[in-house]
């Protein structure tokens, strides 16, 4: 009991610490000072009166949303003496595997750099800067020669690494038993079984109304849809993050989705945010990075050819180029098993003072990366808002899909969950596919790594991502992949 309490107070202290540096804190302070003018605020009961004022004016709600947001990303409780690596990833063998994978990626990037004699970063001459600024809204029409660039890696390369993951402390034994896992993933992580999934995803049960199913034309809207929409509007009016997250488990009405997602992710477009985005844009104009070419190539190969997303090609550049330069993204590496690659100023290899993260946000894009952004273009057409939403989605969810970790929402667990479901509930299909050399994970892996973007029609995809937000978990992707094979 005492331990729990001290854990809780630790968590509270950490969150308070985090929020103290935020813009919200400054705003609350300002509001508190301003409220002193109000007649209802009395000196004798200052604290209670200000609290009451915050409640009525909606500022308490904003604070609640911020706290809730922090809690959503806060790492699972751990021993107070645990070193920071444990926050990233508690299992040593996973950390090691991630480390070697990163080395490989970096090597590949460096060799491309050397082969093509292109610097990792360079400052643009003034003429080029001007040109880029003029073309900012239509970078898609640019046709740089990208033939020599190749993606640093593709999902299938990553899958090979995962297949070879082994826990050195785990002895499988040579004899096959009914418990032997026949899939590609051979690490013993704990994943949910169907009863546990049913409990976790209780709102997706047959007796609860769902958008995407119970709003089809054959079903009268009075049965579910109308009421659901009404509740959604109420949730938005209340501006309550936690309520929104609960609500969206049953799917979001299309007209409310953009606002609901922003509420859940705690994104509000403040002037500071727009300014920050403009600053990133300036960075893009002034400096050219090697990863920019990788981004261009990826967009041209994937989103530009997609039936739904080709229209938004230019937005994708505007988001991804800025994303590469956003150092605030580095913060998420505290709970990501991955670490940002380091590079050294020319001639100063090995000297810590001259080390920089490359790219500045520490994230090297792979083949298909731009598809994380594309569906969001259906919801947000203002670039800085689109940017914020994407960034938050990345640091909360998407990063887990391409780093090696034991987290229940990490790609390794998702693969294992998928395979286990299949082996347990569709053993004949599973066995048959194995026999003909078509391991099911080889088919479904790319769906899960991309969170199904590009593999589902947009309206279906958005309903799926509703649930990712609602349950704050990516496990729905494994369930969806399993259902696809049913």
């Amino acid at each position: 009991m005492l331990q729990e309490e001290s854990d809780l107070s630790l968590v509270i202290a950490q969150i308070v610490q985090k929020l103290k540096g935020s813009n919200l804190y400054a705003q609350l302070e300002r509001q508190a000072w301003a409220s002193l003018q109000r007649p209802e605020i009395k000196l004798e009961s200052l604290k209670e009166d200000i609290k009451e004022f915050f409640k009525i004016s909606g500022w308490e709600k904003k604070l609640q949303n911020a706290v809730y947001s922090e809690l959503s990303v806060f790492p699972l409780p751990s021993h107070p003496a645990a070193p920071p690596e444990h926050l990233k990833e508690p299992l040593v063998y996973m950390r090691k595997a991630q480390g070697s994978w990163e080395k490989r990626i970096l090597k590949s990037l460096n060799s491309m750099c050397t082969e093509l004699s292109i610097p990792l970063a360079r400052k643009r001459p003034v003429g080029e800067q001007k040109e880029l600024l003029n073309k900012w809204n239509e970078m898609g029409t640019d046709e740089p020669d990208l033939s020599l660039f190749r993606p640093v890696y593709a999902p299938k390369d990553f899958l090979e690494v995962l297949i070879n993951l082994r826990n050195p402390n785990y002895e499988n034994g040579d004899s096959l038993s009914f418990r032997t896992h026949l899939g590609l993933i051979q690490v013993p992580l704990k994943v949910k079984d169907i009863p546990e999934l049913k409990e976790f995803f209780v709102e997706l049960g047959l007796t609860t109304g769902q958008l995407g199913i119970d709003d089809s034309t054959q079903v009268p809207p009075e049965l579910f849809e109308n009421e659901h929409v009404r509740i959604g509007q109420k949730v938005l009016a209340e501006q309550d993050s936690a309520a929104a997250q609960q609500y969206i488990r049953q799917g979001s009405p299309t007209a409310l989705r953009a606002e609901l997602w922003a509420l859940i992710l705690n994104i509000s477009s403040q002037p500071e945010d727009i300014l920050y985005y403009e600053q990133l844009k300036t960075n893009v104009i002034q400096h050219d990075l090697l990863v920019d070419s990788l981004i261009y190539k990826d967009v041209k190969l994937t989103a530009s050819n997609d039936d739904y997303y080709f229209v938004f090609e230019d937005y994708l550049y505007q988001v991804l180029l800025c994303f590469s330069r956003d150092t605030s993204v580095l913060g998420h590496f505290a709970y990501n098993s991955a670490s940002p690659p380091r590079s050294y100023i020319r001639g100063k290899l090995g000297l810590e003072e001259y080390a920089v993260f490359y790219p500045p946000n520490g994230v090297i894009p792979f083949h298909g990366f731009s598809m994380y952004v594309a569906p969001l273009c259906f919801l947000y057409h203002e670039p800085s808002k689109l940017y914020q939403i994407f960034r938050e989605m990345y640091v909360r969810f998407f990063f887990r899909l391409h780093s090696i970790s034991s987290h229940p929402s990490g790609i390794v667990s998702l693969c294992l969950l998928f395979e286990t479901l299949l082996q347990t509930y569709l053993p004949q299909l599973f066995y048959h596919l194995r026999e003909i050399g078509a391991q099911p994970l080889r088919i479904s892996f790319k769906w899960m790594v991309r969170a199904f973007s590009g593999y589902l029609a947009t309206d279906q995809l958005l309903l799926l991502w509703d649930r990712i937000l609602g349950y704050n978990s990516l496990e729905i992707l494994a369930a969806r992949a399993y259902c696809q094979l049913l």
């Binding site: 034309t217 039936d307 090609e313 593999y455 958005l462």
Partner: protein
């Protein structure tokens, strides 16, 4: 393999045609013995058509033989129904165009028809022709200011001078696929048409040189910074009473280049015209998706970014325009059956499939006495365009799954009169109930 859903041709088996193959000796006259099998002819060699006919087990014949269904090109229609030939369809024959389809496709005739229709309604005192305090039609304002050249040249000049900084679009009356269209913002650019109107006699004016000029809408809705238009398929099965259907799977065509209202780009057709035929030659044309979106995508995008009411209103108004245009005139015309992408082929195959299901239900031999509305099951991806309150004062579009079926509309009329006295709200037969009455807008769905 992958979870993405691609529409696939659905196997349709012609049920209930009650026909059986019978032994034939091969003589042309014996073809008639094949009772019940529809005999078709076409002069358009397109697989989306032929595959559809063949899968129904229909029999291909030549135009000189007895045929039931003839899918003909526009030229053939003109020849077949010209005054000279005096050809008349017999009771068991159907063709795919009404004889005066060009009233809808030729731009000058369409403009004339709409202007005349509006005047007629005004004369009748119809509430549809109501105007606001500025003299603008409340419900029939769906064509921008348009004139015919060279006939209305002087009228046009007067209008042009009222707002000299405006842009106008010139379209040749008889052409399609974006051919010959250009934009102007100076009178000097169309001097040619003024000379003609002053000097030439009626005889030398060839209809080929006739143009319509309309006020250019230079603030179009943009998506991804691009202009787009809508290609929707409408089937008219009978004109009196008017029965028309809109295919639910229409599509949007995007320009490959970003839109700019800047006058320096007036010459750049890739910015302003969305026809695939033109965009196809642009550098950025993509052959996988062909610069097209389905209407469902558009709907999803608009609902997500603009809200449900606005989107619903948009689609309502589109349906309204379609029905009013058909009422103003009497025809349809030939859609492009050339498929530019794989998805396109599938769409057009399904479109023709559903079209044939409605036009020739159950594969029965056509009968001019057919008068029933087709049952819901055969509609496929078509929806009936219904304006049950078409004639109701102040009412606008109200479709939801609706389509226009004049009989249904009139059938409701009696009910309507009765119930309106009791102040109840009504709905189209079999549909969801809607607000009636003076509301100008009704919510989609």
């Amino acid at each position: 393999m992958g979870p993405r859903h691609c529409p696939s041709p659905c196997p349709h088996h012609s049920k209930g045609s009650g026909s059986e193959w019978e032994e034939v000796t091969g003589r042309p006259s014996d073809v008639r013995i094949m009772a019940g099998k529809v005999k078709w002819v076409t002069d358009i060699e397109k697989s989306v058509l032929i595959n559809n006919f063949e899968k129904r087990g229909w029999v291909q014949v030549t135009e000189n033989e007895d045929w039931n269904f003839y899918w003909m090109t526009v030229q053939t229609i003109r020849n077949v129904f010209s005054v000279e030939t005096g050809y008349r369809l017999s009771d068991d024959q159907i063709v795919n165009h009404f004889p005066n389809h060009y009233e809808l496709t030729r731009k000058d005739l369409m403009v004339k028809n709409i202007k005349r229709y509006r005047k007629e309604l005004e004369k009748e005192g119809s509430p549809l022709a109501e105007k606001d305090e500025n003299g603008k039609y409340l419900y029939l304002d769906f064509v921008p200011v348009t004139y015919m050249l060279p006939a209305d040249y002087n009228l046009f000049v007067e209008e042009f001078r009222k707002s000299p900084s405006s842009t106008w679009i010139m379209k040749p009356c008889g052409k399609a696929q974006g051919k010959g269209i250009f934009l102007i913002n100076k009178l000097s650019q169309i001097k040619k048409w003024s000379r003609d109107s002053k000097t030439s006699s009626f005889v030398t004016q060839s209809t080929k040189e006739a143009y319509v000029i309309s006020l250019y809408i230079n603030n179009p809705l943009l998506i991804g910074g691009r202009k787009f238009d809508l290609r929707l398929y409408v089937l008219v099965s009978t004109y009196r009473p008017l029965r028309c259907y809109m295919y639910k799977l229409g599509f949007c065509r995007f320009c490959t280049v970003k839109y700019t209202p800047s006058t320096s780009e007036l010459d750049n057709m890739f910015v302003h015209l969305t026809n695939v035929a033109i965009q196809k030659h642009g550098e950025d044309y993509n052959h996988i998706h062909g610069g097209k979106w389905t209407v469902n995508n558009l709907r999803l995008y608009l609902e997500s970014t603009r809200g449900k009411e606005v989107t619903g209103k948009l689609f309502d108004e589109i349906h309204w325009i379609v029905v009013q245009s058909l009422k103003a005139v009497a025809v349809n015309a030939s859609p492009s059956l050339t498929s530019s992408t794989a998805n396109d082929r599938i769409l057009k195959y399904n479109l023709i499939n559903d079209t044939l299901n409605i036009a020739v239900p159950n594969g029965e031999i056509p009968d001019c006495k057919w008068n029933k509305s087709p049952p819901k099951e055969v509609l496929g991806n078509y929806e009936i365009l219904s304006c049950a309150f078409l004639h109701r004062p102040g009412a606008r579009m109200l479709m939801e799954r609706g389509g226009y079926d004049e009989e249904l509309a009139q059938g409701d009329g009696a009910d309507r009169e009765l119930r309106s006295r009791q102040g109840q709200s009504l709905g189209p037969r079999g549909g969801r109930s809607r607000d009636s009455g003076r509301t100008v807008l009704t919510t989609w769905k």
